[in-house]
Subunit: 436 residues, 2 copies
């Protein structure tokens, strides 16, 4: 007995318990959720065999979501450290977790992650395949087609809710990339592995050639496919080049097949995108890929912010959200330098939440600006307790303020006795004051 | 004997030593600098009586500049602390300093700042006037017209290169503000003081009514006027309201008078601006204010990021720069909470520099993207020494990397042995790899 996917239920006019649940969280009607899922502009992340998942909706017209990627590498693989990062991501307000473990007991880490959170969990199964290929055969390129599908099946059984799969990569795209040349060639790890494999064996990418098998597994578990652009640009100089757009055309074809198969699908995008390319990048994806949700990595508006890439990413993520991106993969201050710590994870999630919130205000998500209005009213009233509560990270805001202000000070050390409140309130009513 | 201003020299077809100097720094021709200054789309910050200033150009077609505001308040007024903040701002790469001291020996702090840096220094003379009015008369509203002009003269003599003066505020604007209502009324401190003064005395703003006297002083020292929008919005809900636009119309009139008088002038702008208002905000200023440079505070794209307002500001500053802003006043993580520390200053300058750089790439400033290209090439080559050198804050990048990587590791702990370099380099040439 095959269970139906949320997409199939939606098209049959059925409002599921999951649709009711996310409608309630998003404060929109269940019927609107159903319609959006039926047309493919929204997905609900939630593997139908995972009992402990709180489904999360991603797509048009609702709050933009933030993903926090955690996971081990071969250099750092401590179970406790991974749990710390997971807790940090949850506490900072991430909507989903990707476990990108690529070192140590990958499946053990994955099962621990899934058991420890109610958030939807995503993976890149190719990392496990590649890591095991090195252990088993001594080389990534020695992995077999069966190894790939076995890993996908195992992740599906473990309860993974969404998977980034590098299906939209074929010989045609690689040829185009080689003819064109690039500053940073391929920066997607999965894309790099598959490219190596394809060129070594002279064979087509199994995730592309056997996409029906991918669809069959995804459908069985109602896993949402995240069709990654395996050749996304890794430098702003490579943005919107022929290789990227060729890949995106291929993504569009696969999205159409997923939609036809009743499989939930979204598209994964860059990456390094200069600010003036962001709107075009989002519009191209929406247009070529049937308006399905767009999950972007950052985007990073400059290549030179190593150590501060959460800021570079927050800039790009705001503009991407504003232009229609639906789901933002955070970037931490550790990007390009090291595997993130729990504190890096915290910083990354907060920066991404500032960005998606600002972008949601700009794209007119109903109710988004209410939070700001409440904060500004608290500011005008000099209600410090409320200002701290309404801050994106209240513990941090409290700490910053208390370091240089008495708890009961009516103003703050920024202006001290020159707080203009004292001057203007008698003429214009009470005021908040800042800056110059 | 009156010296000419840079604007007057430029209009007379004369290329000054200052124009040559900034042309060399900006890598454009002196003639282009002269033309831009003649038409008013560019200013050179540099008081003609200050011997130790390195002139800085602000305006169209050249690198967007970053200002770091430092200064005491009545709660925190230590000379050493102020020097620490100044050093932090310089080391992080600020282009100018505003000394916004409002507590303690304000003129002493100002003279210390000017003596300790070659960067152009700006002030808001009204802060000193207000502080001394409280001490002398017991109330801000008791200050006299003469007190205001005396403070401006004293700052000019001290060598101040640019001044934010709340000239563009009159009874008409205040009436409009009162009739309309606002979430946060007036958040500009200077604007609040002047409003209190005007309503208390029932008299017009002397900085508006006697603008010719302002122009005369500015011209004598070639001080660049920064005509602040005294009633800029302090909440995104107030953005682009009638009061703001009425104020901007007034700014435009005063800008025209400054241009006619041969006084260098720029406009100071918000503040709290939702992302979808930024382009309109910049375009309105450019159009209403004769295309003179725009100096924006942030902008902040959300009100709820207290503790992280440098990030909210970096988002807005990128979009503002891209839309044509010429000069960004940084915002530190301490904004809305306390007077900044030296570390806050550092964080604020770095965030603003990331933003202006990303914006400069987007608006096509010649050569801006070269830095990114060099970084991406270093990344592709896995040249870690060069990557660190090219980072916006090399000391910080080095520290982040070394915390979890051996110094001589070819890859990083992000991917460990799964660095795709090893796989793809033999097929596509060497590659940099990141993310998934």
């Amino acid at each position: 007995m095959t269970k139906k996917t949320q997409a199939e239920f939606a098209r049959n006019g059925i409002i599921t318990a999951q649709m009711e649940y996310v409608a309630n969280r998003e404060k929109v009607s269940p019927e609107r959720i159903r319609q959006a899922i039926a047309e493919g502009t929204m997905v609900i992340l939630g593997n139908n065999s995972r009992p402990n998942v709180d489904p999360v909706a991603v797509g048009k017209g609702i709050r933009t979501k933030v993903n926090a990627s955690v996971g081990s590498s071969s250099d750092l693989m401590e179970s406790e450290g991974e749990l710390d990062k997971l807790r940090a991501a949850e506490k900072a307000g991430a909507d989903t977790i990707m476990d990108l473990s690529s070192g140590g007991d990958i499946e053990g880490f994955l099962r621990q992650t899934i058991a420890s959170t109610g958030l939807p969990v995503g993976t890149v199964p190719l990392y496990q395949v590649a890591k095991e290929a090195i252990e088993r055969y001594g080389s990534v390129v020695a992995l077999t087609e069966e190894d790939i599908f076995t890993a996908i099946e195992r992740h599906a059984e473990a309860g993974v809710d969404f998977m980034a799969l590098h299906c939209a990569l074929n010989m045609d795209v690689i040829d185009r990339l080689r003819r064109q040349g690039r500053v940073t060639d391929i920066v997607s790890r999965g894309g790099a592995f598959m490219t190596g494999w394809m060129l070594h064996h002279g064979r087509e990418n199994p995730l592309y050639a056997r996409f029906d098998r991918v669809l069959e597994i995804a459908k069985r578990y109602d896993i949402t496919l995240s069709i990654g652009d395996a050749i996304r640009p890794g430098a702003i100089a490579d943005s919107l080049d022929r290789a990227q757009i060729q890949g995106l055309i291929l993504v569009g074809e696969l999205v159409q097949r997923a939609l036809e198969a009743g499989v939930q699908v979204m598209v994964e995008g860059p990456g390094h995108v200069p600010a003036h390319h962001i709107q075009t990048t989002i519009q191209m994806q929406k247009q070529l890929c049937h308006q399905v949700p767009y999950f972007v990595l950052g985007t990073l508006v400059t290549d030179i912010a190593a150590g501060y890439d959460h800021i570079s990413s927050a800039i790009g993520a705001t503009m991407a959200t504003m232009a229609g991106a639906d789901f933002i993969c955070y970037v931490t201050p550790a990007e390009h330098l090291r595997l993130p710590t729990a504190e890096d994870v915290h910083q990354g999630v907060i920066a991404a939440r500032i960005a998606t919130h600002a972008g949601d205000i700009a794209k007119g998500i109903p109710g988004a600006a209410d939070w700001d209005l409440e904060m500004s009213r608290a500011r005008k009233a000099l209600d410090w307790r409320r200002q701290i509560e309404l801050s994106i990270d209240p513990d941090h805001a409290r700490q910053v303020r208390s370091a240089r202000n008495a708890d009961d000070a009516p103003a703050c050390s920024m202006c001290g006795e020159l707080c203009a409140m004292k001057v203007v309130s008698q003429y214009l009513g009470s005021d908040a004051v800042e800056g110059c």
